[in-house]
Symmetry: C2
Subunit: 214 residues, 2 copies
DNA sequence: ACCTGAACACCGTTCAAGT
DNA sequence: ACCTGAACACCGTTCAAGT
């Protein structure tokens, strides 16, 4: 309990503690002081592990990306399209475990090692299908955008930070300003059809990625 | 200058002031107190206009979406595909005017009137092509995801909040851990090829949206 | 209705100092 | 190297009160 060079804790411990608070009280509640308190540390001790709150947030993003099984994307027994689907679904699942964590991606550069490896893996897969690098780069960019955007919409729809009171004037209960959106919502409710995979399939169709058996 | 019921200011003025600070000092620097000071108001006066900082941030998102020319999407002289491209590029441009503002989208539900109208417009366009509502809903979801994700990556790549000091350990200068990503980056540098529109085209191809003349 | 001033319970970060 | 304690310059939000 005395001060001194004791390295009582690791960077991973700090990231884990940060996610615990994130899950319990939401993203806005994650503070250097709060994480430090949970670990029995002084706020200033945190700066031994991370140079700033921003750096901690970047490490949190890396932790989410590190949960993606990139090795599975190299499995040659599966067609490439199936492996892209797996990769994409995997990343989406990892973010689903931390609702709202996608904001951390939007708030800074996505240049961590794990995040970079995700892109590299996509690029490797497309080129391995005989796709020229320039085309593979376009396909990779499109898939990355699609997946990140879908995760963003997941978070939006699941009501992250929905304080209800902050909602726009609630007179929409009367007449819907957006009839088609409403109709589509009702239609999707019982169909239990998750458009994520099919949308990605359409995107891969467009890029002429070798189609799976189906 | 005396207190009293003077409505010296509008909600739009507050949003504008918030964006001014956003542009000048970054998203983290936007505070209720700071915006109030810029307008010559007391922080507490702000709560007459917005119930919380969150509500202000939602209004900022709405302001960005309101800059999209939805009417242009109804122009019957253009094929629908061209109008989707226009809509998507327009939204992207509006966010490009406020680098980093995409975080505001990720941090709360996207249920403002302008944001909803954007989706409704996409839905209307796809169905007007004879696409069944269920398919149009999937296409709309995919396009929304693609565009929002692309905007997120725009912000990431343009180095929003890049403090340099927070960057992951900088030993990548030696040997690239991601050779394909690096090769693609070099390849794209001189080509000046913006993959945004072409990626969207591939997505629309996949959904079988009536192709334009090309 | 719109605004002020005081107050509460917090923040991130820096600095000098201890072991 | 790792940690503490004090301090600086801030936050969002609430409350009672004025016009």
């Amino acid at each position: 309990m005395k001060p001194g060079p004791r390295r009582s804790i690791s960077q991973a411990d700090i990231v884990d503690a940060a996610f615990e608070i994130f899950e319990e009280k939401g993203g806005d509640a994650v503070s250097i002081r709060g994480v430090a308190a949970r670990l029995g540390l002084t706020p200033t001790a945190m700066y031994t592990y991370f140079t700033s709150k921003n750096a901690l947030q970047r490490a949190m993003v890396e932790q989410v990306f590190s949960g993606v099984d990139l090795a599975a994307a190299g499995d040659p027994s599966l067609p490439w399209r199936a492996r892209v689907q797996r990769l994409a679904a995997d990343l989406r699942s990892r973010f689903a475990e931390h609702p709202g964590a996608i904001v951390l991606v939007a708030s800074g550069p996505l240049d961590g090692r794990q995040a970079m490896s995700f892109g590299e893996t996509l690029l490797a897969g497309f080129t391995s299908e005989g796709m020229p690098l320039a085309d593979a780069a376009r396909a990779t960019a499109a898939v990355r955008a699609y997946v990140l955007g879908a995760i963003t919409l997941d978070a939006s729809d699941s009501g992250v930070d929905t304080d209800a009171a902050d909602a726009p004037s609630a007179l929409w209960t009367e007449a819907t300003q957006h009839p088609l959106t409403e109709a589509a919502r009702l239609l999707a409710a019982d169909a239990s059809s998750d458009p994520f995979a099919s949308g990605l399939d359409r995107l891969l169709d467009g890029f002429g990625a070798a189609a799976a058996a189906n």
